[in-house]
Symmetry: C2
Subunit: 149 residues, 2 copies
Amino acid sequence: MEPVPVLLAMTYRAMGDQFHDRLRQIGLEPLRPAHGYVFRFLAQRRATTVDIGAHLGVTKQAAAKIVAELDEWGYVLREPHPTDKRAQYVTLTTKGRDYLKFADVLWADLENEMAEAVGADTVATVKAGLTAYLQHVHGEDQPGLRPVW
Amino acid sequence: MEPVPVLLAMTYRAMGDQFHDRLRQIGLEPLRPAHGYVFRFLAQRRATTVDIGAHLGVTKQAAAKIVAELDEWGYVLREPHPTDKRAQYVTLTTKGRDYLKFADVLWADLENEMAEAVGADTVATVKAGLTAYLQHVHGEDQPGLRPVW
DNA sequence: GAATATGGTCAACCAGGTTGTCTACTAGGA
DNA sequence: TCCTAGTAGACAACCTGGTTGACCATATTC
């Protein structure tokens, strides 16, 4: 059997491709994965561009480019930080939240189909296993998301 | 809990980072993941540059660049195809096979540590689950490896 | 034998990162 | 209170690793 990282990479690619296809089918603008991860992150907590960079696992400059795009396209906006005059909070617009909502439905679909194919208990074990491993390796602080290639 | 692809991406990144660190510790030349995947592929079957591109999920031109690098560094060599005068088989040199051997030991270590952290049965379920899913989605032909970002 | 498809190479280009630098601001001591 | 070290964000230059497109030589199909 293939070693774990190969399986992870292939599955990631396979699911991502399916997701992307369906986005297009619906006619939803197919943003890149990184954009989606930003939405998901912002839905959970207030964050600056630097926070986003750390979450994605890229430099703050790269994160700034992504944020600038999302801003331009109307998915996020930047508002002044209440106490720190240097900083800005990046927040989702309604358009951004809507996009995330649709994306979540799609992901749930894909996950359900995965459950049909390999068993719901297996999917649950996979998710719990990976989560536990990440917890074990990284403790509190979340690891980067960007795959190294 | 995070959706599946996020977990996949984070775990992939986390394992990859650890692997890379250890490669450096041993003093083994830290090639990129793509190179390792090429070794692994060539160890299983005879392949041309086009085959490699398909396996990685990149164009043949991109694959050609990688093969050229590996050739230059002494990990692979290109030999004429027995029947097709256009084609060349890319094959591992001893150096390439040795590298793969060391890498496999490292991966096994990481997998064992994962098993200690989350349970051997869980790791087995994860591997079987992902393998089954890939089989379900792609059937016979293997999916691309390169993560879309 | 002609038309079409495929492996490999070359060249131009591009996307999406990185490093380095700068300014404005913050925070933590002497 | 002032001085110093650190941080958020922006700008510019650059680099890596991919893509597209064109081409030749050879294979394959009819």
